[in-house]
């Protein structure tokens, strides 16, 4: 498969063809714009971390007790999986920039595979929690019944499912973006000379990794020293 760059063409009223000079030709502008988008993500997750910290100060022991019941083996495995996925994404971009488009595509596929592994592990973890009666909507996380967990634990698990769920949603979006990127590479719209789309999707994937870097200790590790 050829990986020659195929420019976007616009045709004017007289039928003349013109190459579109869009964001693909403005590498720095495209990068700066994407950083501004990512800062909105930081605001969204930042507000959630702020809420989490506030609840933690109010219900300290409940949070530690709830955290100690999470599956650190699965959470830790996912941490390592994301770490390697950030590497494959980074190496893929490096291959693209060095002219090895086929190698770049292989690395993107490897990243997609690792992202699917992450989602699979997360699904196993959530299923395990569901079978233990701890899930959104179940009695344990509702106030005022005989199965209710302490109020602080209800807040903890509410935030846990919300934030890991939202993070998982970002992983799914990331997989979609990588598939789209592969399609654009195959169509010749992304190449060694015009790789801003690849660069920005790699940035997005690093942001998803970055968020997990804080999600993991916040939920899984604060209760790790608690004997259970």
């Amino acid at each position: 498969m050829s990986h020659e760059y195929v420019p976007e063409i616009a045709i004017d009223r007289d039928g003349k063809k013109h190459e579109v000079q869009g964001w693909q030709g403005d590498f720095y502008g495209g990068k700066l714009g994407f950083w501004l988008f990512m800062l909105t993500e930081v605001m969204m997750f930042g507000a959630m971390f702020l809420t989490l910290t506030y609840y933690f100060t109010l219900h300290h022991q409940d949070f530690i007790d709830a955290s100690s019941h999470l599956n650190r083996l699965l959470g830790g495995t996912n941490t390592v999986v994301l770490l390697f996925s950030a590497l494959t994404m980074g190496l893929g971009l490096l291959k693209m920039r060095s002219g090895d488009v086929k190698g770049a595509k292989l690395m993107i596929w490897a990243t997609i595979l690792l992202a699917l592994v992450f989602l699979g592990i997360k699904a196993v973890e959530w299923r395990e929690e569901y079978t233990h009666g701890v899930f959104l909507g179940l009695d344990a996380l509702q106030s005022g019944n005989e199965h209710s967990r302490p109020f602080g634990q209800i807040l903890f698990y509410g935030m846990y499912f919300t934030m890991t769920g939202l993070h998982g949603f970002h992983i799914i979006i990331g997989i979609g973006l990588m598939l789209w990127l592969l399609k654009r590479i195959n169509a010749g719209k992304v190449s060694t000379e015009h790789h801003i789309l690849h660069f920005n999707i790699a940035l997005y994937w690093d942001l998803v990794h970055l968020i997990w870097v804080f999600v993991f200790p916040y939920f899984y590790m604060i209760g790790a020293g608690n004997a259970h």
Binding site: L50, S98, I196, Y218, I222
Partner: protein, 135 residues
Amino acid sequence: MHTNEHVNYQEQKGGYYKVLIGLLLLTTVTFIQPHMFLQSYTFVTQIMIGAIKAWLILMYYMHMKGETLIGWTVAFAVGLVVVFFAIVITDVGSFQFKTDSHITSQPHIEVNYHHEATEHEASQHDAGHTTSHEK
């Protein structure tokens, strides 16, 4: 990374592997810390380790090293978030409805475990229960 320029894969891949090793080592420290050292400060220690990992990711994987304009843009925006956080933390620290809120006070909800209770007993219970989330 300032431009769309070509790079040499063999020359630059080493940097990615070095950062990977650093991140793996820090992840290992994350796991052993609550059992080995600073056990009384687990939360702060974990967040500090996370901050070091985040710095490595930002600088090397997200190519922030050497970026001036984007670096300052990010620093300014994150600074604004920090100011916003400080205002909110100060505000909730003196929350005037602290004793009334479900979030800030442990709700005290009595549960009727005896489904066979008579209506009379239930009405007596309601009369003596003034608020559902009294401190």
